[in-house]
């Protein structure tokens, strides 16, 4: 057995010794097959988000391309959420679901992910993480934000772990405006400033940041009499029309220079192709961390794709079903209808939102590791090439679980063609800047109030940037102590 210890618990919390003691006890009791041990990995990770899609003890089996179970097995324990009293039972229950029979036996060769996975209501089929229904929940949240917020009683920014968005930090916004204004002055000096100055904000949130930015830009422009503001064409882009409407209200004072456009963050080029090579500044905050992501795992030199299956634990599933007057067997189709049609599914929106919130609250992800023959089998997002991945892996820790931030990559490659030859992209988000950082813990997905959050693989974006003609850099967000946000910015690659 290999133990990956990435978290030293505080006093009073369950420790690695407790977990090991529990495993030895199970071994003594014959509830853990000693033949499993050579292939078992115990992960005691720092889990980035306390609210996530995992139960305190999670089990992961490897499966081959046909779904047949392989020897590799992983036990992941969230020490912050496991109590000393329950750790033996939690482990026993997880091991029972894993199957403890020796490899090669009938039990061990049963299909991984068969329906016999304990007391739970399965919501998905086995799919790569990026295709999980959690992303449909995520999309629904942004489309029906007002409904959710009305019932939760608080705005989505107040529900963030820090209680506010770093997007709206006035000092950060002021610096961003100053950088942009400097670029404009330089271009103007060389006679290269276009008549119309395009700037784009993708993922507009409440519109607070855009308004701060515009206020500041106008103030600088007026103070220095540069005459840029009237030439500004500031575009608010979001895939949620209600969000755009809200943001437009926030920037009402700048209505003459602002337009809004419904845009999928995955492909801004589709809606904005008429602005190819024209936009001088593109900014996104907390968009990449909210886009679909896959995960790859490398163990003993072998590569695996993380597949997931969403479920609601049995007791909670029964509670939800009872509360909404449906049978437990109706839960899966009802959730499917919710994701398809929105919260009006019961003919009573409030009841629909309550159902939605309850399901989201309880939603978990079962995981398995699908073996891949090599990087050629990895489903790559557009813009990421196999040899980029090979190079990343060549320089990554041997044992690693990391994100293929496919939504972020797709968004990036479909955004940079909008940039003017001297333009730049700026993204405030949570980035893993090097592959080595993946050694240090589990970086998501985490569960926010209604939406998904995920750290973004910055090393991957750096590789994709190099291929598209941009050097990608990461600067710490120095405006709020202990902030985990970084600022990605591009410079032209010569």
């Amino acid at each position: 057995m290999i133990i990956h210890l990435n978290y030293l618990p505080k006093a009073g919390e369950t420790g690695a010794g407790d977990v090991l003691g529990a495993l030895f006890a199970l071994l003594d009791q014959g509830r853990l097959d000693p033949e499993m041990l050579p292939h078992l990995r115990l992960h005691l990770d720092w889990i980035q988000y306390k609210a996530n899609f995992r139960e305190p003890v999670t089990v992961r089996r490897a499966a081959d391309a046909r779904g047949e179970r392989m020897a590799l097995a992983e036990l992941a324990v969230d020490l912050r959420r496991t109590s000393r009293e329950h750790v033996v039972d939690d482990l026993a229950s997880a091991l029972a679901s894993m199957g403890t029979a020796p490899s090669g036996s009938a039990a061990a060769s049963s299909r991984a992910g068969s329906p016999d996975h304990g007391d739970r209501v399965v919501v998905d089929d086995w799919v790569p993480l990026g295709d999980s229904s959690i992303w449909q929940f995520n999309r629904l949240f942004w489309q029906r934000l007002a409904d959710w917020e009305r019932q939760s009683g608080r705005g989505f920014e107040a529900a963030l772990p820090s209680g506010r968005s770093d997007a709206n930090d006035p000092a950060a916004v002021a610096d961003a405006v100053a950088d942009f204004w400097t670029l404009l002055v330089e271009l103007d000096k060389r006679g290269q400033l276009p008549a119309e100055i395009f700037a784009l904000e993708i993922g507009v949130g409440s519109g607070t940041r855009a308004n701060l930015w515009l206020d500041r830009f106008k103030a600088i422009d007026e103070a220095r009499a540069t005459g840029f503001y009237p030439r500004l064409r500031f575009l608010l882009a979001d895939y949620s029309l209600p969000t755009l409407d809200r943001a437009m209200s926030a920037v009402a004072a700048h209505r003459d220079v602002v337009s809004m456009i419904a845009t999928d963050a995955l492909n801004p080029l589709r809606a904005l192709s008429f602005l190819r090579y024209k936009i001088l500044y593109v900014h996104l905050t907390n968009v990449y961390d909210n886009l679909p992501v896959d995960e790859l795992v490398r163990r003993d030199g072998q590569l695996y794709l993380v597949e997931t299956r969403a479920y609601v634990p049995g007791p909670l599933a029964r509670t939800i079903a009872t509360a909404h007057g449906i049978g437990t067997d109706q839960l899966r189709p009802t959730i499917a209808r919710l994701l398809e049609t929105g919260p009006d599914l019961f003919g009573d929106r409030e009841r629909g939102v309550a159902f939605w919130r309850a399901v989201w609250d309880g939603l978990c992800l079962e995981e398995r590791l699908r073996h891949l023959e090599g990087t050629a089998d990895v489903p790559l997002p557009p813009g990421l090439h196999g040899d980029d991945l090979d190079e990343l892996l060549a320089n990554a820790p041997a044992d690693i679980r990391f994100h293929i931030s496919r939504g972020a990559v797709e968004s990036f490659v479909n955004t940079v063609p909008l940039l003017h030859p001297r333009g730049y992209l700026q993204v405030q988000d949570i980035f893993v800047a090097t592959m080595d950082e993946y050694r240090q813990g589990f970086r998501g997905p985490g569960k926010l109030d209604g939406s998904v959050v995920n750290w973004v693989n910055g090393a991957l974006l750096r590789a994709v940037g190099a291929r598209t003609g941009y050097d990608v850099h990461f600067a710490p967000f120095r405006y709020r102590p202990a902030s985990r946000t970084s600022i990605l910015y591009t410079t032209l690659r010569e």
Binding site: Q192, P194, R276, Y277, H385, D387, V416, P417, H420, P421, A466, R467, T468, G469, L492, R493, E494
Partner: protein
């Protein structure tokens, strides 16, 4: 030499296969030998020639597939240029290169690659070279007193190579100077360097000026107006410009300044994967015919096809040839 009416050609480069990119990177990382890479280059060049022929081009190139990029192919051949071989992570990056002493005269070895091209096609051929202005913008000058002096020295060395190319049968030589658009203030000395480069070179000489195609995107934006009138001093027979992506507005400059050149008209946008229809290409040619007669017009993509997938590049060339044929028929040709 006069151009052929609406003759079709590539600007220079053809689609770079992903497998060749990988091989170039493998070579850079010492995973394959120079011999292996050269065999792959030969195969890729033959395929590029064939694609151009099948697409129906009148004038073909070797697709520039042996080149890492437009600078290093020359920087590594120019005598006296010191190259830091560890300075790039990907084949497409530029080497860190510098000149620290007076550059000696020596051959660059372009003739061998031209002969390879000649051996595998009966069509007319084109050889492209990066111009001295663009080269001095990437090779650090630590010897010559001015950029102009450095550029003229490079031009003097490359002039011998161009003469060798002509002796080997090269009829059409194109000089690429995309950096003009980024440094329009350099144009007067940039043209003097061109004239040194082409002195005594008995070939159809064209000058290609675009707004950059590094990583398949423009490096600058603006108007070709900056070229005039300085460019009229260049001793070239053709100027090759991009119009498909940028629109035809600047065509009128040729008339306004009574430019003596034939025009290589960019009719295919190399920065989008959308394939033009022959009708669109034909319309772009007709717009140019309002300015210049057909015997002063050749047809080409805006720039190199390097960054386009092969199927897109091939389809664009096919549409370009068909569009030119449409107009030729209208002209009774």
């Amino acid at each position: 030499m006069a151009g052929h009416s609406l003759s079709t050609a590539v600007v220079g480069s053809y689609s770079m296969p992903a497998w060749l990119e990988r091989a170039k990177n493998d070579f850079l990382r010492r995973r394959i030998t120079a011999h292996d890479l050269e065999e792959m280059h030969d195969a890729a060049v033959k395929a590029a020639i064939k694609d151009q022929e099948v697409a129906g081009l009148d004038v073909v190139s070797d697709g520039e597939l042996r080149r890492d990029n437009m600078i290093d192919y020359f920087a590594t051949r120019l005598p006296g240029v010191e190259i830091d071989r560890g300075s790039k992570a990907s084949y497409y990056d530029f080497y860190d290169s510098a000149v620290r002493n007076r550059m000696p005269m020596a051959p660059l070895g372009l003739v061998e690659h031209f002969r390879f091209l000649r051996r595998f096609t009966d069509r007319r051929t084109k050889v492209s070279v990066t111009g001295p202005h663009s080269l001095v913008k990437r090779i650090r000058n630590q010897y010559y007193p001015t950029e102009e002096a450095f550029a003229v020295e490079i031009a003097r060395i490359m002039n011998l190579e161009l003469r060798e190319l002509v002796r080997a049968g090269a009829e059409q030589i194109q000089i690429d100077e995309p950096y003009y658009s980024g440094f329009p203030e350099d144009l007067p000395w940039g043209v003097r360097a061109i004239n040194t480069l082409v002195d005594g070179v008995d070939a159809r000489l064209s000058l290609h000026v675009c707004y950059g195609n590094r990583y398949g995107k423009p490096s600058w934006e603006g108007s070709y107006r900056y070229l005039f009138p300085a460019i009229l001093e260049a001793r070239i027979s053709q100027i090759t410009l991009e119009f498909a992506r940028r629109g035809s507005e600047d065509l009128k400059l040729l008339k306004e300044f009574d430019a003596p050149f034939t025009l290589g008209l960019g009719v295919v946008d190399v920065k989008t994967h959308d394939v033009e229809t022959p009708a669109v290409v034909a319309e772009r040619i007709r717009e140019a015919l309002a300015i210049l007669p057909p015997d002063r017009l050749s047809v080409n993509p805006d720039c190199g096809l390097l960054h386009l997938p092969r199927e897109v590049a091939f389809a664009k060339l096919g549409a370009m040839v068909e569009g030119a044929q449409l107009v030729r028929r209208e002209l009774g040709g």
